[in-house]
Every structure is written in structure tokens, then in C-alpha cells.
């Protein structure tokens, strides 16, 4: 992809010269100039975790993005113009992230920027986006957008945030699994969001968090934390991220075998991990939050089917070319949906070039209902233009015979919380 961005550059030069030729030969009978100009590609800067701890996510974000772009371009692009993706590695590092946005805006003349998952990269990059007046569509699931921390140029229309996800889980956990919960989470901002929002929601449901076990982000071995889980724990709520997740679940299995408390985990703990890895058998019967069900369900929608095929994911959630290469299915749909939202926003606002960026943002802000469709294969969503955050269905699956089977779908309303910001009041 990297090399593409180079050749893209030269292609852009080529385009310019074609346009120049066009203007000279703008006479009756020839393809007219305005048409040639308007078919110049829409340039979308794609900030991607190719290296650093987010790399597994980055790879699949990339594949999903390429697939979505192909679908959109094959069906006529945006306002008749093709999308061109300019990718830049952010190294899962905030400073690099901000520099990538700078490149998009000033070096590659991108129309908008998009991508990236890890919150610190988003938070490090967003101020730059605001300053560069570059619309920045993130697919991060962090609560940073709706919390009001960022700015009018940063939006998260394609994926529900962690606050919504977590609070929507609370009723299910309490009603189906147990009232005494111990939480195991990474000891940094992402884990703290889980800790704070889940315990608030769960306690308001009448449940009790009996222990909280934070695990340092640099940890590569986890067993020593498990004895901190009290014996009377009914439900173990676990969420872990980073390259060591497989070690985490394996050691959890070694420790408890089949005797432990009921498990409720965020799929992050096993994202991109093959669930048939030896040592993970103990997960059978446990529950997972999934942003989007990894395994094709019996009642799979045609849209999921279409999306799955387009990205190249088989019915088990792995790459069609390599069954060991498991996707980050629970998150990556956000890229697909966000690109479709950009397309729609540009079409509604009649976007033609960078001076229309604020019109594009206003167009997206005025969106509300996003029904289940090919553009939204994960499910229907309601977008809140004031907080720049989308809200959608959440899925809870049960591990059954080595596969995740959908057990419960939350309503969109379960994910609502009061607005914490109104970005539309900020000026451009």
C-alpha cells in the first residue's frame, strides 16, 4: 500500500496534465473540461496501525477499507468520482498519528481523513485535524468523541462507543449470569472506561462489583493476577487488548479449568485469535460482547453476507485465503460503514473540493437514522449529530462447540446516554 501512495502521487500529476490538456482542447466535440475535472478522485487519507501494538487491527481495517472502496468505486464512486485511499502508518503512536494527518492535509491534498482505532492515537491526532480543518472520521469506539474532548472536525459515525457498549451489557449480565461481578481490565484509559461505565451501569441495575483487577499494559504474563479474583465471584468480566491476549485467555483457562465463575468477556480479549487454539476449550459456554458477530449466524442478513464476501472473510470469521488468519470482525465493519457515510455526506452536500469540507460535516451532522443495509451491514444505527457519535445494536454471543453463537441483541436505546457536548455550536 505504501508504494501505492507514491504511484498515486505520480498519477495525480498525470491527472493534472490531462486536465491541462483538456483545457486547451476545450472545444465543441471534445470531452468538456468540467467533466474531466469532476472525475478527479476523492482523496481519503487513511490513518492505519501498521506497526506497534495495534497492528493486528490495522491489517484488517486496511482490508475492510480496500473492500469498501472497491464496492463504492465499482458502483460509480462518489458524485461520479472514484475514491483514492492514501494510507499512512501511524505506528499506533499519537505523535506519528498527528504527523500523518499533516501529510494528508498538506502534502497529499486529501479531502478528508479517516481510520484508526486506538484512542491515544485519535486523541493525539484530533487537535491537528481541527487546526488543519480536515474532517476526521474515526473508527475507534473510544468515548473521546462524545465526551466533548475533541472538536467539530472529528466524528465517529460508524461505530458505537465503549460507554454505550458497556452500559448495554449490564442488564444482560445481571439478568442471565449473576449479580457479583469481578472485572479484569487493562490498566489504562481504555480499561478505565470499561471499569467506570460498566460498574456505574451495573450498580444502577442492582448488581455489585466485588473486585476490580487492573493489569498493567506492559504485562506479558497474567496468571499472577487471577488469585485476586474473589472466590464468591459469580461472573468474571474480562477485557484485554494487545499482542498478549492469547496468553491471557490461555492462562485464564489453565487457572480455572472448568471450575471457574461464569465468564463474560469483551471480544477484544480474543480478537484476531483463533478460538480453536489448544487450551481455549474452557471458553465453551462463556459469553462475549461482539460489535459484529464473527461467525456467520443461521439468520445471517444478506447485507452481512455481502459484506463478508466483499472483505474476504469466511463463515468462521477468518480470511478466506488463510483460515488461521482471524479477522477483527467485531470492529472493522466501522471502516466499511464510515466510508459509506462519507459517500452519502458528500453526495448530500454536493461536495466538490476542500472548500466544501464544512458543508460535508454539516451534512453528516444532520444524519439520524441509518437503517440496516449494504452500507450498514452491522445493523441499524442512530447518529447523534450534536455529539458526533453513532449508536447501534450490540451483540452478545455464547461460545458453543468452538463457535460464537448469537445469544442476545441489545436495542439501540440500551446504548443511549445523555449528551455531554454539542459540537454543532462550535464554529468551523
Amino acid at each position: 500500500m505504501k508504494k501505492n501512495s507514491k504511484s498515486n502521487l505520480s498519477r495525480r500529476k498525470l491527472m493534472k496534465s490531462i486536465a491541462a490538456v483538456g483545457s486547451i482542447s476545450a472545444m465543441p466535440g471534445f470531452v468538456n473540461y468540467s467533466q474531466a475535472s469532476s472525475s478527479a478522485p476523492i482523496r481519503i487519507g487513511f490513518q492505519v496501525h501498521r506497526t506497534g501494538i495495534g497492528a493486528a487491527y490495522g491489517r484488517w481495517y486496511d482490508r475492510t477499507t480496500q473492500a469498501a472502496v472497491k464496492i463504492i468505486n465499482d458502483s460509480g464512486g462518489i458524485n461520479g468520482r472514484p475514491i483514492e485511499i492514501i494510507s499512512e502508518d501511524d505506528g499506533t503512536d499519537p505523535k506519528r498519528g498527528a504527523e500523518a494527518l499533516e501529510k494528508f492535509a498538506n502534502q497529499h491534498n486529501c479531502d478528508v481523513a479517516f481510520g484508526t482505532l486506538f484512542s491515544h492515537v485519535v486523541i493525539g491526532s484530533a487537535p491537528r485535524a481541527g487546526e488543519l480543518k480536515l474532517p476526521y472520521f474515526v473508527v475507534s469506539e473510544g468515548h473521546h468523541v462524545a465526551s466533548g474532548m475533541l472538536n467539530r472536525y472529528t466524528l465517529q459515525p460508524g461505530i458505537t462507543d465503549v460507554k454505550s457498549q458497556v452500559q448495554a451489557m449490564a442488564p444482560f449480565v445481571k439478568n442471565n449470569l449473576g449479580k457479583k461481578v469481578t472485572m479484569v481490565y487493562p490498566d489504562f484509559a481504555f480499561g478505565h472506561d470499561h471499569r467506570d461505565y460498566f460498574s456505574a451501569a451495573f450498580e444502577s441495575q442492582g448488581g455489585e462489583i466485588i473486585a476490580k483487577v487492573p493489569i498493567p499494559p506492559t504485562e506479558s504474563s497474567f496468571s499472577k493476577y487471577f488469585p485476586k479474583i474473589p472466590r464468591d465471584t459469580e461472573v468474571l468480566y474480562h477485557v484485554m487488548v494487545g499482542p498478549a491476549v492469547l496468553t491471557f485467555v490461555k492462562e485464564l483457562g489453565e487457572f480455572y479449568g472448568s471450575k471457574g465463575p461464569k465468564l463474560f468477556g469483551f471480544i477484544d480479549s480474543v480478537e484476531a485469535v483463533d478460538l480453536n487454539t489448544p487450551g481455549l476449550e474452557f471458553l465453551d459456554g462463556s459469553y462475549f460482547w461482539e460489535g459484529n458477530p464473527r461467525y456467520a449466524q443461521d439468520n445471517q442478513t444478506v447485507h452481512d453476507q455481502f459484506y463478508r464476501t466483499a472483505v474476504g472473510v469466511d463463515k468462521n470469521g477468518a480470511s478466506v485465503s488463510d483460515p488461521k488468519d482471524v479477522s477483527t470482525y467485531a470492529h472493522m465493519f466501522g471502516c466499511w460503514e464510515t466510508l459509506h457515510i462519507i459517500k452519502k455526506g458528500m453526495e448530500v452536500s454536493g461536495y466538490s473540493d476542500v472548500k466544501d469540507r464544512s458543508k460535508l460535516i454539516e451534512a453528516v451532522e444532520s444524519m439520524k437514522n441509518m437503517p440496516l443495509s449494504q452500507a450498514h451491514p452491522q445493523g441499524a444505527k442512530i447518529f447523534n449529530g450534536k455529539t458526533h457519535q453513532t449508536f447501534g445494536h450490540q451483540y452478545i454471543s455464547k461460545m458453543t462447540n468452538g463457535k460464537l453463537v448469537l445469544a442476545h441483541t441489545t436495542s439501540i436505546e440500551d446504548t443511549f446516554y445523555p449528551d455531554e457536548v454539542d459540537y454543532t455550536k462550535q464554529s468551523f
Partner: protein, 293 residues
């Protein structure tokens, strides 16, 4: 969990940790002891050992034990040769000047790490355990493989001790460590010895990596943490002292587990780091002392 079983569990986990740590630290300590240089790239040799183990075992289908044994045979040699090469190409030319060597090994660190990223990609690579048996110890379960790790490390440490104390090669190393100039005067080929020691240090770390990958996974960024811990061990244990290093590794490995019984793990890490600072400040010329005169 009740305190008794909890402490038992923490001790067992601590022993696994200590076993691998003592191998990594021993490699570092050997290099420092004999060559008087700090090898910042040591953690990357460990990482390389882990990733190549994954690579080697991915060639072997069927019983994972075969891949594991193959790795034990091949990986230390590959990693050792890489280290020998970097000594021969780089460090030798710096005349082992302490500061230049540190800067150069930081360079080697990035090169090996990024080479692993380019070649093997950014994902964590799982290696299957040679045998997958869970022992149920009533209060908690424990993997039989982890006992195997402890056991193998002990055997290996004994072997290294025998080599160091009973063979001529060991004698040469000890002589060089004591006084390299005199050793040279007695006809010991110092540059060859340095070359071999640098390779050997890396190879020992690689063995530690082979033992640990079936428990953790191979990842191109995995070298940083063990490097810091190995530093801590080497500083606390005293230089070039096999016994000291092993004792410190057990202390650090166990305490990391046991401190985290009582304190937040993050605090445990902060405390361990602080301990090293205190040791170094109280004995400024002691363990790592290089006085310029």
C-alpha cells in the same frame, strides 16, 4: 483466594518467571562480566529466539514436541551467530568503548527489532506447547509445561556452571574476566574470546525464549520488558557472578509475583525499578563501576 494457596500459586508462577529471567540475565551478565560492555540489544536476541522458534516450528506439522525439539537445536545457533556477526562487524571496531558500545547496541536493537517486523510481521505468533497438560492442584490449575520450564532451566544453569568451573574454556573466560590484559599476555586470543562470549550470551537468552514462547507468544516488541528486568537482576546480583545472577533472578522473579499479591502490580514494577536506582546510588562504583582515570 486464601492466602496460603495464593502464596503457593504466586511462588510457582514466580519460579517460572525466575527460571526464564535467570537465563536471560545470565547471558547479559556473562557479556558484561567478560567484555565489560552493556549490551542493550540483549532483549532483541531474546525476541529473535522467540520468533525464530515460531518460524521453525511452523515448518513442522504433527506433534508440536518435534518442532520444539528442532527449535532447541537450531535457534540458539542462529541467534548466537547473529550476535557473533554483530560483534565482528560492529562492536570490535569500537574497541568496546563503553559509551560507543551502548549507542551501537541501541542501534542493533532497532535493526533487529525492525528486521523482525519486516520479515515476520507485526502480529503475535503463538507456538503450541510441546505437551498440553493441565494439573489440577485443588485451589487452582497449573500447566505441566510450566514445571518443565523450571526443570529445564535448572538443568541448563547447572550445565553452564559446570562449563564455567570445570572446563578449560571456563577457565579462559574467568581469566579474561579477571584481567583481560594479563590473559592476553598469557596467549589467550582475547578478540576470539569476546566474539564467542557475545554469541554465547545471546544464545543463552535464546534458549530462555524457546522455553517461554509456548507460554507467551512471539512478538517483535517483546524484547523491551525482559531487557529491563535483566538489567535489574544483573545489577542486584553482582556482575559476572553466576550464583549472584541466579539468586537475584529468583528474588526478582518471585517478588514480582509475591509483591503483586499485596500491592498493585504497577506499583510493584515502580518499586522494583526504584530498588535498582537505590542500589546503584548507594554503591555507585560497586556493581557497574567504570571509573575513568
Amino acid at each position: 483466594m486464601e492466602l496460603g494457596p495464593y502464596l503457593l500459586f504466586a511462588s510457582l508462577e514466580g519460579l517460572v518467571h525466575a527460571a526464564v529471567l535467570s537465563l536471560i540475565a545470565l547471558g547479559l551478565s556473562l557479556v558484561f562480566g567478560v567484555m565489560r560492555i552493556v549490551n542493550v540489544a540483549h532483549g532483541e536476541f531474546f525476541m529473535l529466539g522467540a520468533i525464530i522458534t515460531w518460524w521453525v516450528s511452523s515448518f513442522v506439522s504433527g506433534n508440536p514436541a518435534i518442532g520444539f525439539l528442532l527449535a532447541l537445536l537450531v535457534v540458539p545457533i542462529i541467534v548466537g551467530m547473529t550476535a557473533v556477526l554483530s560483534d565482528w562487524l560492529i562492536l570490535r571496531h569500537l574497541k568496546y568503548d563503553p559509551e560507543a558500545t551502548i549507542i551501537a547496541t541501541i542501534g542493533i536493537l532497532y535493526i533487529i527489532q525492525q528486521f523482525a517486523l519486516m520479515t515476520f510481521g507485526p502480529d503475535a505468533k503463538p507456538v503450541e506447547q510441546p505437551f498440553n497438560i493441565r494439573l489440577d492442584l485443588y485451589w487452582f490449575g497449573f500447566s505441566a509445561y510450566k514445571f518443565f520450564v523450571i526443570f529445564s532451566a535448572i538443568i541448563l544453569l547447572l550445565a553452564i556452571w559446570l562449563v564455567m568451573s570445570k572446563t578449560k574454556f571456563g577457565l579462559i573466560l574467568r581469566a579474561t574476566q579477571l584481567d583481560s590484559e594479563t590473559a592476553q599476555a598469557f596467549g589467550i586470543p582475547i578478540s576470539r574470546v569476546y566474539n564467542i562470549v557475545f554469541g554465547l550470551g545471546a544464545a543463552i537468552a535464546a534458549v530462555g525464549a524457546i522455553l517461554i514462547v509456548p507460554i507467551q507468544q512471539a512478538h517483535y516488541l517483546m524484547g523491551g520488558e525482559p531487557l529491563l528486568l535483566a538489567f535489574i537482576v544483573v545489577i542486584i546480583g553482582g556482575l559476572g557472578s553466576l550464583k549472584g545472577t541466579v539468586a537475584a533472578a529468583i528474588l526478582i522473579g518471585m517478588s514480582d509475583g509475591i509483591i503483586s499479591v499485596f500491592f498493585s502490580p504497577n506499583i510493584a514494577k515502580i518499586l522494583a525499578t526504584l530498588l535498582v536506582v537505590v542500589v546503584l546510588i548507594i554503591k555507585p562504583n560497586g556493581l557497574f563501576g567504570t571509573t575513568k582515570t
